[in-house]
C-alpha cells in the first residue's frame, strides 16, 4: 500500500475517533454543568479546552467561560481546528483522498456526515444532546460499515490502528483531567469500604463512566458503589471494557503483526511492534496499587508519552517511508 494512502486512512479514522471522543467529553461536561451543586462549574467547563490544548484559542475569541460559547467553540466552530466539526471535516478530507481504498458504504457514511455537519453552523442544532447523539451515531455507522464491508487487508489494519491509538490517547486524557477535577487528592486515599462519596463525586464518576460507555460495565464488574479506585482499574486495566487503555493496547499489539511486512531486519515495523508489545504487557500485568502508588496523574502522563512514541514510530515505519 502507498505510504500516503496508509497515512490518510490512519488519519481519517483518528479524526473520526477524535470527534466521537470529543463529543463524549463534551457530553460529560454538559451533564455536570447542569448539576446545581456542581463544584467549580468553570473548572468543569475548562476541561475540554484543557484536554484538547485549546484554552488560549478559546480566550482569543471569547471573554469568559460560558457553557453556550464553549459548546459552539468545541462543537461547531470550523475556525477551531480541534472542534468536532473540524475533526469531521479532516476525516472526510482524508477519506476523499483515499476513496478508492474504502468501500462505497464507508465513503457514503463519512461523506453524508460531513454534508450534514457543514450546514450546522448556519442552520443551528436542535439541542446539544441531540448533536452529541448524532455524532456518536455517525461514528458508529462508519465503524459498522468498515467492519461489515471492508476487506481484511492493510487498509483495514491502518484504519483500526488509527482508531485505537487515538482512543487510548483520548481515554487517558479524559481520565487524567476528570480525576484531577473530581478528586484532586489521590484516589488511593479513598478506602474502598468507606461510606458513599459525596453526591457530586458520584455524579462526576458516573458521568465519566457514561461518557466512555462504561457505566453498565462498572456495575456488572463490581456490583458496588462508584469509587475512584475501581473506576481507575476499570478504565486502565480491564481487557473487556472497549474504551479502556488495556483494551486499546491489546488491539494495537494485535493489529501491527497483520500489516504486510518484511521479515526480521527487513521489517520496517520492528520498533513500533516492540514499543506496542512492551506497553501492552506492562498494562496487562499492572495493578491498580502500582498505579496509585505512583500517582494516577503521573502514571497517565507516562502512558501518554509512551503512546505518543508509538504513534511516532507508526509514522516512521509506515506512513513516511522513503
Amino acid at each position: 500500500m502507498l505510504s500516503r494512502t496508509a497515512s490518510q486512512l490512519y488519519w481519517m479514522s483518528r479524526y473520526l475517533e477524535r470527534a466521537e471522543n470529543l463529543v463524549r467529553m463534551l457530553d460529560v461536561t454538559h451533564s455536570l454543568s447542569l448539576l446545581p451543586q456542581s463544584r467549580g462549574a468553570t473548572t468543569e467547563l475548562a476541561a475540554p479546552l484543557a484536554v484538547t490544548g485549546s484554552l488560549d484559542a478559546y480566550h482569543a475569541k471569547h471573554d469568559k467561560l460560558a457553557a453556550e460559547q464553549l459548546f459552539n467553540f468545541m462543537a461547531l466552530d470550523l475556525d477551531n481546528p480541534t472542534s468536532v466539526l473540524s475533526c469531521l471535516k479532516f476525516a472526510r478530507e482524508n477519506a476523499h483522498a483515499v476513496r478508492g481504498q474504502i468501500t462505497s458504504e464507508m465513503w457514503e457514511a463519512i461523506n453524508a456526515t460531513w454534508l450534514e455537519a457543514k450546514e450546522m453552523p448556519k442552520r443551528g442544532i436542535p439541542s446539544v444532546s441531540a448533536f452529541f447523539d448524532w455524532v456518536k451515531e455517525r461514528s458508529h455507522l462508519f465503524r459498522g460499515a468498515t467492519y461489515g464491508t471492508l476487506q481484511r487487508n492493510d487498509a483495514y489494519c491502518f484504519i483500526r490502528l488509527g482508531t485505537f491509538i487515538e482512543r487510548a490517547d483520548n481515554t487517558a486524557r479524559l481520565l487524567d483531567v476528570k480525576s484531577q477535577l473530581i478528586a484532586p487528592a489521590q484516589p488511593s486515599l479513598m478506602p474502598v469500604d468507606a461510606p458513599a462519596e459525596s453526591a457530586p463525586d458520584f455524579y462526576a464518576w458516573s458521568a465519566l463512566l457514561r461518557s466512555l460507555s462504561a457505566f453498565e460495565a462498572y456495575h456488572a464488574a463490581y456490583r458496588d458503589a462508584l469509587d475512584g479506585r475501581r473506576v481507575t482499574e476499570l478504565l486502565i486495566l480491564r481487557p473487556d471494557v472497549p474504551r479502556s487503555l488495556r483494551a486499546c493496547c491489546d488491539e494495537i499489539r494485535a493489529i501491527l503483526p497483520q500489516i504486510e511486512a518484511g521479515i526480521g531486519a527487513q521489517d520496517a515495523g520492528r520498533d513500533v511492534k516492540k514499543l506496542a508489545g512492551k506497553l501492552a504487557i506492562q498494562i496487562e500485568y499492572g495493578s491498580v496499587d502500582e498505579i496509585l502508588a505512583l500517582g494516577l496523574h503521573e502514571w497517565l502522563t507516562g502512558f501518554l508519552q509512551r503512546s505518543a512514541r508509538i504513534s511516532e514510530a507508526v509514522r516512521e515505519a509506515y506512513l513516511e517511508a522513503t
Binding site: 500500500m1 476523499h96 483522498a97 476513496r99 462505497s104 465513503w107 520496517a268 517511508a321
Partner: protein
C-alpha cells in the same frame, strides 16, 4: 400527459420524426413514459440527485473560489442508439483511432505524411503540442493514444460527424458507468423492455489495455492524479478502484537508477505503467514546467529508456489539435488506404488566406474556435452572439489568423430532456471511449452530454451541460 415537442429549426431529434411520430426504437420508452405521472418522475429525479451527492460524483469548478464541488446534472431520459448505427460508429471509430496512432508514430519517426506532401511541416513541428523529446522513441505496439474519447454529433441530415478527437487525457467515462448504474437502480422496468448493451466491463478492458501497453511480465499499473482538487478527481479514484490499482500522486513516485518506484508501507515498489491524468507539461519538472509540483522529477528519462509506459504517451496532443483535425480524413486514406467511415465537420483553416476571407465575411453564421482551446472556452458561436461580440472576435482572428479555425454552425441533434416546465428538446453530443492495446477494444456506449439551456449548443459540464445514460441496443435493427 407528457407533451413531446420537436426542436426548432429542423434539427434532428433522437426520439421524434419530423412528423412528430415516435421513432421505432423509442416507442417502448415513450409508452412507458406516458404511463408515468409527473410526480413519480420528479421523485425519481430527486432520488438520483441525492444518490449522486451521497456517492460524491462531483466535479470541482475551475475559478470557483469556494472550491465548491458541483454535481453534473443528470437527465433521466436515456439517449437510445439502434444497434445498426452503433456498428457503423464502432467501425468508424476503430478506423479513425488506428489512423491517429499511425500518424503519431509517423510524425515522431520518418514523417512520411509530410514527405508525401499531404500536410505542411510547420503544422506539425511548430505546433506547441509537438514534443521533440518523442522523436525516434519506440513505444510497444506503436501505440501513443491508449485511451481516446471521440466527440461525435448528429447533424440535421441524420448523419454522425466527428467534432473532435481527444487524445490527451479524455475524461467522462466514470459518468458513463455511474449513469448506467443510476438508471438501472431508478428504472429497472425499462431494462426489461430494452436489450441494452452493458458497459460495466469498461474498467476490465482498460486494465487489459494498460497491461498490454508494457512488455514487462505482470506489470504494475497505477493511475496518476493531480490530486483531490482536480475537477476529475472522482473519476481518477473511481477508475483506480475499479481496476484494483493504486491511485498515486506525483509525491508518491520517485526515480532511482533509471526506474520508477512508488513509496509503499513495505518499501519502494517498481511501477511499469502509468495511466496518467496529468497534462504533458506537468509530468516532469526537470523536462517540462519547472514549477510543477504534480509530476515526478526524472520521469522523462525513465520513459525514454523504455522503463515505464505512459498512457497516453507524451506528445499525443499534436494529433487532436484543431489545426490538425482537418487532415484526419487524409490520414485515414494515407495510412490505411481506406475511405473514412466517419465524417469530419467541414472546417475552414484561417491560416489559409482564402479560408480566412470566407470566415471574416461569414463570421456571424459560423462557429469560430481557437485551435488549441478546450472545454468550450475561447470560441464564438456566431448566430448566438451580438454584432459587437462578432466584431470583437473578427479583430482577434484578423490579428492572429493561424490561431483559429471555423466551422458551420452545427445542428446538434436533440433529445427530450426534463426541464423546469416539463420535457423539452435539448441538444446533445456523444463521446465513446476507444481503447488501443494489442488490439482496439471498446464498450458499446459512451457519454452523452446535453446542453441544458434552451437552444444552447455548448454541452461542456464547465458551461452548464449535463449528462444522460447512453443505450446502445443489442440484437435489433
Amino acid at each position: 400527459m407528457h407533451a413531446l415537442t420537436l426542436p426548432a429549426n429542423g434539427h434532428y431529434d433522437e426520439m421524434l420524426l419530423q412528423s412528430g411520430a415516435i421513432r421505432p426504437h423509442y416507442q417502448p420508452f415513450a409508452s412507458w413514459l406516458h404511463a408515468q405521472t409527473p410526480e413519480a418522475l420528479a421523485k425519481k429525479r430527486a432520488e438520483a440527485d441525492l444518490l449522486f451527492h451521497k456517492v460524491g460524483i462531483t466535479f470541482a469548478v475551475y475559478g470557483d473560489e469556494a472550491g465548491a464541488e458541483r454535481l453534473i446534472p443528470f437527465d433521466t431520459v436515456p439517449r437510445i442508439v439502434p444497434s445498426s448505427e452503433w456498428q457503423m460508429l464502432e467501425a468508424g471509430l476503430r478506423q479513425r483511432v488506428t489512423a491517429l496512432n499511425r500518424f503519431l508514430w509517423d510524425i515522431y519517426h520518418e514523417h512520411e505524411i509530410i514527405k508525401a506532401g499531404l500536410m505542411p511541416a510547420e503544422q506539425v513541428f511548430a505546433n506547441a503540442q509537438y514534443q521533440p523529446a518523442m522523436q525516434g522513441l519506440d513505444l510497444p505496439h506503436g501505440i501513443y493514444a491508449h485511451i481516446t474519447g471521440v466527440d461525435l454529433i448528429r447533424h440535421s441530415d441524420g448523419g454522425y460527424y466527428v467534432l473532435e478527437d481527444n487524445l490527451r487525457v479524455p475524461s467522462g467515462v466514470s459518468y458513463m458507468l455511474e449513469n448506467r448504474k443510476m438508471m438501472m437502480r431508478l428504472f429497472p422496468e425499462l431494462f426489461a423492455r430494452y436489450q441494452v448493451a452493458p458497459v460495466a466491463h469498461y474498467p476490465t478492458l482498460l486494465l487489459n489495455t494498460l497491461r498490454h501497453a508494457s512488455t514487462a511480465d505482470n506489470p504494475t499499473v497505477v493511475v496518476l492524479t493531480p490530486g483531490p482538487f482536480n475537477s476529475a478527481y472522482f473519476e481518477h479514484a473511481f477508475l483506480a478502484q475499479q481496476m484494483g490499482v493504486e491511485l498515486v500522486e506525483g509525491q508518491d513516485l520517485f526515480v532511482k537508477d533509471d526506474y520508477l518506484y512508488m513509496r509503499t508501507t513495505v518499501g519502494p515498489q517498481r511501477v511499469d505503467v502509468i495511466y496518467r491524468r496529468i497534462d504533458d507539461a506537468f509530468l516532469d519538472p526537470l523536462a517540462f514546467r519547472a514549477d510543477s509540483m504534480l509530476g515526478v522529477p526524472g520521469l522523462l528519462s525513465v520513459y525514454k529508456r523504455g522503463n515505464v509506459i505512459l498512457a497516453n504517451a507524451i506528445g499525443t496532443g499534436v494529433a487532436d489539435d484543431k489545426s490538425i483535425y482537418p487532415y484526419v480524413p487524409d490520414m485515414i486514406r494515407f495510412y490505411l488506404g481506406e475511405e473514412p467511415i466517419l465524417h469530419n465537420v467541414p472546417t475552414w483553416q484561417c491560416r489559409k488566406p482564402e479560408d480566412l476571407d470566407h470566415v471574416l465575411t461569414h463570421m456571424a453564421d459560423l462557429v469560430v474556435k481557437e485551435v488549441h482551446g478546450a472545454g468550450g472556452y475561447g470560441m464564438l458561436v456566431g448566430p448566438a452572439s451580438t454584432a459587437a461580440e462578432v466584431a470583437d472576435f473578427r479583430e482577434r482572428v484578423r490579428a492572429n489568423p493561424s490561431n483559429y479555425i471555423a466551422q458551420p454552425t452545427l445542428c446538434l441533434s436533440s433529445c427530450p430532456t426534463f426541464v423546469d416546465s416539463g420535457i423539452a428538446p435539448r441538444h446533445i453530443d456523444l463521446r465513446p471511449f476507444v481503447l488501443s492495446g494489442r488490439e482496439i477494444s471498446m464498450v458499446a456506449g459512451g457519454l452523452t452530454r446535453v446542453a441544458l439551456k434552451q437552444g444552447s449548443l455548448v454541452v461542456n459540464s464547465s458551461q452548464g451541460g449535463g449528462t444522460k445514460d447512453t443505450w446502445i441496443l443489442e440484437g435489433q435493427a
